[in-house]
Symmetry: C2
Subunit: 715 residues, 2 copies
C-alpha cells in the first residue's frame, strides 16, 4: 500500500478544499485512489456534493429522493429534546417513526440548508471602499456592503444567503442556500448507542459509538420552503447519495464532503499563544465550573435530565476540547513551532526592502491590535460568562430587538433584521426546553461574585451601579450585594415563561424599560457597557480586516505550499484514506473497531449498551454487513483526512462517491489541528455504514428506512 503512504505523507491529508479547487487536484485525487472524474466535484449542485446539506453547525446528506437525511446522533439531540412529549425522553429511549405520519417536528428553529451557488463578491465587499476610513468606519462599510448583497440575494424568498470571508477577509463569497424550515425526526437510536461512551470515550480512540440519526426535510405543497404544517410534503433534493453496503477497508480512499466551521490556521503565533494561555484555560475554568454545576444538579435530581442533559453534553464537549487543546499545544510544541515560523517569516520580510515595506508595518500593527484590549480582558471574559444566564441572555436580546426594530432594515445590526425574526421567536419559545431556574441562579451568583471580587475600578461601572441599586446599604459587603442582586433578579422572573418572552418580543423600547422585571432592568442598565464593547470590537474588526489579509499574503508568498483557506462554514472536500496510528511508544491503534468491542466495554452508564443490541451481537447474524477481513461488523473507523467542528454528520464517501460512513469526531491528538495541523497523528473518526445498516436491520428492524435507501433488509 505504498500509495497510501505517499498520500499520507506527501500531500492530500491536510487541506479543506473548496469545490472550485478540486479540478486542479485531479492528479493527487487520482493517485489517492479516487475513481470518478475530479472535475465533477467542482459543481456544488451535482453528484455527489449536491446531496450534502448544512444543519448550521453540523452536516447532513440526502439518502433518498424523499428528503431523507442522515447525520450524527449528536447533531439531533436538540431536535429530540424539542420533539419529545411530556413524559418522554427521546434522547435516552431513541425514536423511530415507522411511517411518515409519525415523524416528529424537530422544532421551529431547526433548519436544513442546501447550497445552490457560490459567487465571488470580493470587489463588491471591499473593492470600492473609500480612502481614509477609520477602522470603525471600515467595519461599517464592509457590513453595509454585505447586508446589501444578502438582502438582494434573499429578496426572491425561500433562500438564505451569507457572505463568507476567505483567507481572513482577502476574498469574499456569496453563498446562496435553500432554507428548509420544516424538519422532522425520523429515527434516532437510544443514547447508549448514539452516545455510547459519552465523555469517557469522547475524542478517544477506540470508539464504539453509533453516532447516526435520520431526519427528513419537508416543503409546502408548492415545493417551496415552508414552516411546519401537517399538509407539507417531503422535499425532493436534486441529488442524493448511493449507500454502499460494502464499506471500506484499511488503506482505502475516503473523501468527506462537509461544512467545517472554523479553523485558525492563518493566525499569527501571538494569537495562537493567547489561545493556549488565555482563552482555552479560561474555558477550562469557567465552562468547567458550569459543567460541574449541571453534572451535580443532574446527579442530585434525575428529574432534570430532559432539561439539562443536552446543555451538559455540549458543555462537557467544549471543556474537554479546551483541555485537550492546551494539552495538545503543549505536547506538540505548537506555540514554539508557530513562533519559529513567524520568526522565519519576519526574517524573510526583513531581508528585502520591498517586502519589508509591503508587509512589515501590517505585521507590527497586527501584534498591536491583538493585545489592544488586554486591560479589560479578564472583566469582559467574566461578563461574557455571566451573560450565559438564559434569563439575562433573553432580556438582553429582547431589549436589543426593541432598539434595532425601529431602524431601516439594512441599518440594523446583523442578527436583528427582518430575516431573523422567525428564528428569534422560535429560540425564545424553545429556550424553555433547557431553562432551569436554580442552575441559572447559581451561575449568576458565581460569576457575579467573581466580578464583584475584582478591584472596584475594574468592575463595569454599569453593572456595579445596578447591583448597588438593589441593596444600597451593602456597598462594602460583596456577599450582601450578590444576595441583593439575586433577590431582585429571581424573586419573580418574568422571562421564565415562553409566553412572556414572546409577548414582550414586539414591545417598543420604552415599554421594556418600564417593565418591572429584574433581568430587563439589568439589560437596560448594561446597554451602555454592551454598546461600548461592540464599538471596540467593530474597531478591532476593521483593523483585522485591513491587517490579516496582508499577513496571509506574506505567509502565502513565503510558503506557497499553503494552498487552502480556513474553514468558514462553507462546503468543503477533504480526502485521505482509512488509517490507524501510533499514539505513543509501544501502542498501535487499528483503524477499525468491531461490535465485539461494544461487549468488551459494556457495563454501567455510559457503557450501558441496550439489551437488544447485546443480544443481536451475541446472536452473531451479520447478514451482508460483515467485514470480510474482520469476520464481524465494524463499528467505527479512522481516516487521516482533515476535519473540524461542523464536519459532524457529514458523509464519508468511497472512491466512487458512495456513502460508506459518517464523520462524527476527531481524535485527541488532532484537537490542536484547528490552529496548526498535526500531520501523522490527526485522525477523523467515522461511523461505519455497515454498523448503521446492521443496526437498522438486526436491532431496530427499521426495514422501511433501509428500503427507502435502496438497501434490502437481509436479517
Amino acid at each position: 500500500m505504498l500509495w497510501t503512504c505517499f498520500v499520507s505523507m506527501a500531500f492530500a491529508v491536510e487541506g479543506m478544499w473548496e469545490p472550485s479547487q478540486l479540478a486542479g487536484l485531479g492528479a493527487p485525487l487520482r493517485s489517492a485512489g479516487y475513481l470518478e472524474d475530479p472535475s465533477r466535484l467542482v459543481d456544488v449542485t451535482g453528484a455527489p456534493l449536491g446531496a450534502v446539506a448544512s444543519l448550521g453547525g453540523c452536516t447532513a446528506s440526502f439518502v433518498s429522493d424523499l428528503g431523507l437525511l442522515v447525520t450524527n446522533h449528536h447533531c439531533v439531540t436538540g431536535m429530540l429534546q424539542r420533539a419529545q412529549r411530556e413524559g418522554e425522553d427521546l434522547l435516552v429511549s431513541g425514536f423511530y417513526a415507522g411511517n411518515r405520519a409519525d415523524e416528529r417536528p424537530a422544532g421551529a428553529s431547526t433548519r436544513v440548508y442546501v447550497t445552490q451557488s457560490l459567487e465571488d463578491v470580493t470587489t463588491k465587499v471591499i473593492g470600492s471602499l473609500p480612502a481614509r476610513l477609520t477602522d470603525r468606519q471600515r467595519t461599517e462599510a464592509i457590513d453595509t456592503n454585505t447586508k446589501k448583497l444578502v438582502a438582494a440575494c434573499e429578496a426572491p424568498g425561500g433562500t438564505r444567503c451569507r457572505v463568507a470571508p476567505f483567507y481572513e477577509g482577502s476574498r469574499f463569497t456569496l453563498v446562496r442556500q435553500v432554507e428548509l424550515r420544516d424538519v422532522r425526526v425520523v429515527m434516532a437510536p437510544p443514547e447508549m448507542v448514539g452516545n455510547y461512551g459519552d465523555e469517557v470515550d469522547n475524542w478517544h480512540w477506540p470508539r464504539h459509538t453509533g453516532d447516526f440519526s435520520f431526519i427528513r426535510a419537508y416543503v409546502g405543497r408548492d415545493g417551496k420552503p415552508a414552516d411546519f404544517a401537517p399538509t407539507n410534503v417531503p422535499y425532493t433534493p436534486k441529488r442524493h447519495l448511493l449507500v454502499s453496503t460494502r464499506g471500506v477497508e484499511p488503506g482505502e480512499f475516503v473523501m468527506l464532503a462537509s461544512y467545517p466551521g472554523t479553523t485558525r490556521r492563518w493566525r499569527s503565533a501571538l494569537e495562537l499563544e493567547r489561545q493556549a494561555t488565555l482563552t482555552s484555560p479560561g474555558q477550562i475554568e469557567h465552562l468547567g465550573w458550569i459543567f460541574e454545576l449541571l453534572t451535580s444538579t443532574l446527579a442530585a435530581d434525575p428529574g432534570t435530565l430532559p432539561t439539562l442533559a443536552v446543555p451538559r453534553l455540549g458543555l462537557g464537549n467544549a471543556v474537554f476540547k479546551a483541555k485537550a487543546m492546551v494539552d495538545g499545544f503543549a505536547r506538540g510544541n505548537v506555540v514554539e513551532r508557530a513562533r519559529k515560523r513567524d520568526a522565519a517569516l519576519a526574517a524573510w520580510v526583513a531581508a528585502e526592502p520591498g517586502r519589508a515595506a509591503k508587509y512589515g508595518p501590517a505585521i507590527a500593527a497586527l501584534r498591536e491590535t491583538v493585545t489592544r484590549r488586554d486591560a479589560t480582558r479578564r472583566r469582559d471574559e467574566l461578563m461574557d460568562y455571566l451573560g450565559r444566564s438564559d434569563l439575562l441572555s433573553a432580556a438582553r436580546s429582547l431589549y436589543r430587538w426593541s432598539i434595532e426594530r425601529p431602524l431601516a432594515d439594512v441599518r440594523r445590526e446583523a442578527g436583528y433584521q427582518e430575516r431573523d425574526v422567525a428564528r428569534a421567536q422560535a429560540r425564545f419559545a424553545e429556550m424553555q426546553r433547557s431553562l432551569h431556574l436554580d442552575t441559572d441562579r447559581r451561575l449568576v451568583e458565581h460569576f457575579l461574585t467573581l466580578i464583584l471580587a475584582l478591584p472596584v475600578a475594574e468592575q463595569p461601572a454599569e453593572l456595579r451601579a445596578w447591583v448597588l441599586s438593589t441593596s444600597p446599604a451593602a456597598e462594602n459587603r460583596p456577599d450582601a450585594l450578590v444576595a441583593g442582586a439575586l433577590d431582585r433578579l429571581y424573586r419573580s422572573p418574568l422571562l421564565a415563561t415562553a409566553a412572556a418572552r414572546l409577548e414582550l418580543f414586539d414591545r417598543p423600547r420604552s415599554a421594556l424599560e418600564g417593565v418591572a422585571d429584574g433581568f430587563l432592568s439589568l439589560a437596560v442598565a448594561l446597554r451602555p457597557y454592551d454598546a461600548a464593547r461592540e464599538e471596540a470590537q467593530k474597531e478591532d474588526e476593521g483593523a483585522f480586516s485591513r491587517l490579516r489579509p496582508v499577513f496571509v499574503d506574506a505567509l502565502r508568498t513565503f510558503d506557497p505550499a499553503r494552498s487552502y483557506p480556513d474553514a468558514n462554514g462553507t462546503l468543503r472536500v477533504t480526502f485521505g484514506s482509512v488509517q490507524g496510528y501510533k499514539p505513543r511508544d509501544a501502542v498501535s491503534y487499528a483503524p477499525q473497531t468491531t461490535v465485539a468491542g461494544i461487549v468488551e466495554k459494556a457495563g454501567p452508564w455510559p457503557f450501558a449498551a441496550p439489551a437488544p443490541l447485546l443480544a443481536a451481537i451475541d446472536a452473531g447474524t451479520w447478514g451482508p454487513y460483515a467485514d470480510p477481513a474482520l469476520g464481524t461488523v465494524p463499528v467505527d473507523f479512522l481516516a487521516d483526512l482533515d476535519i473540524t467542528g461542523g464536519s459532524s454528520g457529514s458523509p464519508t464517501l468511497d472512491a466512487r462517491g458512495r456513502l460508506v460512513g459518517l464523520a462524527f469526531d476527531s481524535n485527541y491528538e488532532g484537537i490542536g489541528s484547528d490552529w496548526m495541523y498535526n500531520a501523522g497523528l490527526s485522525r477523523s473518526v467515522h461511523v461505519d455504514i455497515r454498523y448503521l445498516l446492521w443496526y437498522l436491520d438486526a436491532v431496530a428492524q427499521a426495514d422501511g428506512l433501509l428500503t427507502e435507501m435502496g438497501v434490502s433488509p437481509a436479517i
Copy 2:
C-alpha cells in the same frame, strides 16, 4: 514465528515450575527455544539457579563473585530509607557508592537468602500423625513436626530453614538457605528513574520504569554469615550470572528464576468468590482509606516524605491490585468460570461411587470450613485494620514475646522463637523510620469508630471493656468513647521511641502488665480476644490441612494437565517468550518500549524524568546498547511467562541463561492470575538489561559497577 505461537498457546506459558520438574520439561523447553541442557536446571546450586537469591518478598541475583546483587528499585526502597542519613532522601535522590567503603548498611532486618538444598519431608510432617486427632490437635502436631525439622536444620548455624507446603499441604519440602545478614546498598537510581510513572503507570503497559538497583552481601572474615561490621568482607556466591549486552527481541525465548510468593490456583470457586466479593472489596475500602490518609498528610506536609513515602507506595500498590483484581475477576468472568469448573468436578465425582466416597465428603466439608467464621467476619476484619497501628502492633508483639519467652523454644509460637529474636529487635528499632504519630492516631480513631458503630453484641467484649474503662461515663456516646480511648493511648505513648521498645523487649509478662502505657494496657486487654482468634484459626488450619489435599487430588485426577504447585516462596522457573498483546478491540501493545517514550511522558511528577537522563536521551549516544531493529535503547519489555508478587527483581534469562532483564511487574490484565491464570492476556513486565547498562554507562557513569559485571564502559 510459529514456534512462539505454539508455545504461547499450547504449553509453557502458564506454570511456575519446581526446579525438580524441569528435567521432565526438556521437550517443551527446547521447542520454546532454550539452548542449554534442561536437566542442569534441576540443580538449585548450579548455574544459573545458584545465582538466584531471595530477599524475603523479592528476588535478586548475583552478578559478580564479590556478592553484588541486582534487583528491583522497588525492592530496596525500605533499605534506602534505613540507609539514609539526616537530611538525605535516598529514595528521591538515588544513591551510588563509587567504592565499597561508601556502601551503606541496608538495615539490620535486611536479609539475603541463598538456597542450598530442598528435601522432601512429607512423611516427617504428616506421615505419622496419630489417628483421631481433632483439627486443633492436627495443626499442633504438624506445627511441632515442622519446628523440629527447622530446629535440626538450623542447628549448625548460619542457615535459615523452613518447611514449605506444596499442593495445599499434600507435600512438604524442607528448604535450607544461607542467611546473609550484612547487606549494603550499592546503587539506586533516582525515584524518577526507578519509579518513573508511580501509581499512574503501575500495572499499565506501556511502562518506562528503570526499576533496578544494586546491593551487596557481606560475611565475616571467616566467610560465615555475620551481622553488619565494617571489617566484614564481600560474600562469594557459588554462582553468578553472565550479563548479556545483546538483550532479547520480540518472539525470543525468556526464562525467569524467582521466588514467587503466593498463588491460589488450587482453591475452590467458593473461596475465589469470597476473595472477589469480600476480601478484595474490604481492602479497597479500608486500605484505600489509609492510603488516602497518608496521601493527604504528605500533600499537606512534604516534611513527612522520608517517613511516609515508602509505606504509601506499598499501600497504593495493594489498593490498586485489589481494585484490578475485582475488575479482572469481573471482566474475565473468573468466578463464573471457576464455578463451572467446580460444577464439572462435582459431576465427575458423583458419577462414580468410588470417587464419590473418596472426594465427596471432603469437598462438602471444605465448603463448610470456608464459611464457618462468617458471623464474626466483619468485626475481625475491622480489628485487623485497627491492628495496623504501628504502636498497637508493637505493644501486641512485645506482650506476646513476654508470654512465649518462658516456654521451651520448640513449644513457642512460630515467629517468637530464639531464631526470631534478632530480626524482631531490628524491626522494633526500624519501626521508627516509618512511625508517624498523627497518622497512627487517625488510623486508630477511624477503625475504632467503625468497630464501636457495630451492634454492641458484635463488638469484641475485650475491646469494649477496655474502651469503657477509659471513659466510663460515655457508654452510650461512641464519639466520646473514641475520644477517651485516643486520649488514653496518645497522651504519652511510651512505645513511640525505639529505645523504649527495645528496653521493654526483654521484660517479663508481669512487668509489662504493670507498665502504665495505654497501648500496652490495650494489648493486655485484647490478649483473650487474640488468643481465641488464634485458636479458631488453628482449628480451621487443621481442617484445611485435611481437606484441601483431597480437593487438590480430585482436581489433579479430573484434569491431569494441571501439573505444577501454587507459588509458596520457593525457587521456581517459568518460561515463555517476548510478546506484546491486544488489550482490547483495535488496540495493540508492542512488547518493547524505548527511551523516546520517556521523553513523550516527561512532565510533572510522577513523570519528572531527571535532566541528566533527558539530556543523555537527547544526545542519542547509545553505544552497544541500542536494539538493532528499534535503532534506540529499549527500556522495558513484556513476556508471556507466568509471574506473581515475590518474582519482583528476579533475573530474566535468555536461551543461554544470560541475564537480559529484571522482572518487576505484571500487566493489569494479569492481576487476577493469582487465582486463575488468564491465558493470552497475562504478561510479565521486565526492565531491559540494555536500559540498565546504558543508564549506568551514559547517565550514572557507574563504570566500576559495569566493570565488576564484566561489561566494558563504552560511552
